[in-house]
Amino acid sequence: MSEWWTYTLADFLMFSPRTYWRLFELYNVAIWPAQLVGVAFGLALVALIHGNRAHRDRIIAGLIAACWLWIAWAFHTQRYAQINWAATWFAAAFALQAALLVTLGVLAGRIVLETVNVRARRIASLVIILAVLGYPLLAPLAGRPWSTAEVFGVAPDPTAIATVAVMALVRGRLRWLLLAVPLSWCAIAAATLWVMDAPQAMVVAAATLLALWPAARGGRGGTPAAPR
């Protein structure tokens, strides 16, 4: 890109806010009732984080991986790519995140979540609940129809926020590898909403920072525990 310094964030927005929210409306209609599965997955994450069942961390990684893979295909490739040519790259990044979760978490069992720090788990749970139950409310709060709601598990923003909350609990440096794509997406999402003058941008930014707090507090040490 020549004279790149002359470009602003707004120069990269190639669709109108109306088109963006209509995209979610049409997507929600097309995939119904997949949203219910997404909500169920999100609530299951909260229960699992506070539980102690066998293979807990593998199940959590698998649930989140399924969401990222679905969004890569059903949202980015099938929908968002129609109005944003960069969505092809977003789809690849989301598929990569799913692959990391499956290989490192489900198969290798190397994703081990914090179990001792109760406050960290509570923060993660709070953020996940906000992402699952609170995020869809932003549509009516912003004066948009319910049909444009973004739902955890099928929409990228709440899924990325909740994923940051969970990955912030991962022990060891592996957490930063697993946070790279979700954090990048949260930044892209906040920037997109900001350019569209959507106050929701601040929600994404604040929720992401809150979700990241356990990682920032406990990110200076710790080694992965034995696979569960």
């Binding site: 109108s16 929908r79 109005i83």
Partner: protein, 296 residues
């Protein structure tokens, strides 16, 4: 009021829809073909994906645009689904033969330029493009020879270059001096007037048609101007909105062939097209338009 600006504005009869007025047109210097001075851009506004409601609205916009005497529709492979939406609308409204199709080539690889243009043509569903421009001068070294070859083969009618928001004006100027292009596309409005110094005079000197993009700064200029009431002299120009005043400012420049405001609303396209009729501002009035824009 018409003054010198009006003297060079050629008039031609309205299109098949019986218009009581005559639309302002300018000749494309390389051929003399007349072009109505207001066209239709599609950046953002036509990128609506496969939303059937929004696609129908875009088809209505094109139908109203052509009914009001408009011809030039401009797009690019960079504009997401806009080319598909144009093709859908042209087919729905049976307008393919009535428009002037202006598109761009936008790909790093020079070898893939022809392929991309052919893909774009398929999306528009036109027999051939009237004009293809090198988008933002991206790899013009390879794409421009391709466009000139396509023109020689009769696969396109005109070749051009595009830029926006004042970027690469030095390169544009050099290419206008050295290359046999028919069109150049630049940004020009009452606030962005850098092109007045060198590029617009050079276009007249070299006989190159000028397309003006971002006439309203993607709406920001109109939002700012809306805080001021319409001045009394707006009525003298036959203007009922700031959009029409801004468009008349742009097309009153003798080097400008066509301005291409983008919209997805029928009411706005009708309002824009009204600027292609009636009087144009003279030099003194253009200064007052600049002053109003700078106050906004």
């Amino acid at each position: 009021m018409l003054g010198a600006a009006g003297a060079y504005a050629l008039l031609r009869p309205a299109t098949a829809h019986a218009q009581p007025r005559t639309i302002l047109s300018r000749p494309i210097p390389s051929t003399g073909e007349l072009m109505p001075v207001v066209g239709l851009g599609t950046w953002i506004t036509f990128n609506v994906g496969d939303d059937p409601v929004a696609r129908a609205a875009c088809a209505d916009v094109m139908r109203s645009f052509v009914a009001a005497g408009g011809r030039m529709i401009d797009s690019s492979p960079m504009y997401g689904s806009s080319q598909d939406v144009i093709g859908h609308g042209l087919r729905q409204a049976a307008l393919t033969e009535r428009i002037f199709s202006a598109d761009k080539v936008w790909i790093s690889s020079g070898a893939q330029g022809r392929e991309q243009i052919e893909r774009s043509r398929g999306k528009w569903q036109v027999r051939r493009f009237d004009l293809v421009q090198v988008h933002n001068l991206l790899n013009w070294q390879e794409h421009l020879p391709t466009l000139l070859a396509l023109k020689a083969e009769g696969r396109i009618r005109y070749a051009g270059l595009s830029t926006s928001e004042g970027r690469r004006h030095g390169d544009i100027e050099q290419l206008m001096r050295s290359q046999p292009i028919d069109f150049v596309q630049i940004t020009y409005n009452p606030l962005d007037r850098e092109v007045e110094a060198r590029i617009l005079p050079l276009a007249r000197e070299r006989g190159i048609a000028v397309i003006v993009n971002r006439p309203f700064r993607e709406g920001a200029l109109l939002r700012d101007l809306a805080r001021q009431p319409l001045p009394p002299w707006a009525a003298e120009l036959g203007c009922t909105s700031w959009a029409q005043i801004v468009l008349k400012f742009i097309v009153a420049h003798p080097a400008v062939t066509c301005a291409i405001p983008a919209t997805s609303r029928v009411a706005h396209v009708r309002e824009n097209m009204d600027a292609a009729y009636g009087r144009l501002p003279d030099a003194a009035l253009r200064q007052r338009i600049i002053a109003a824009a700078e106050r906004a």
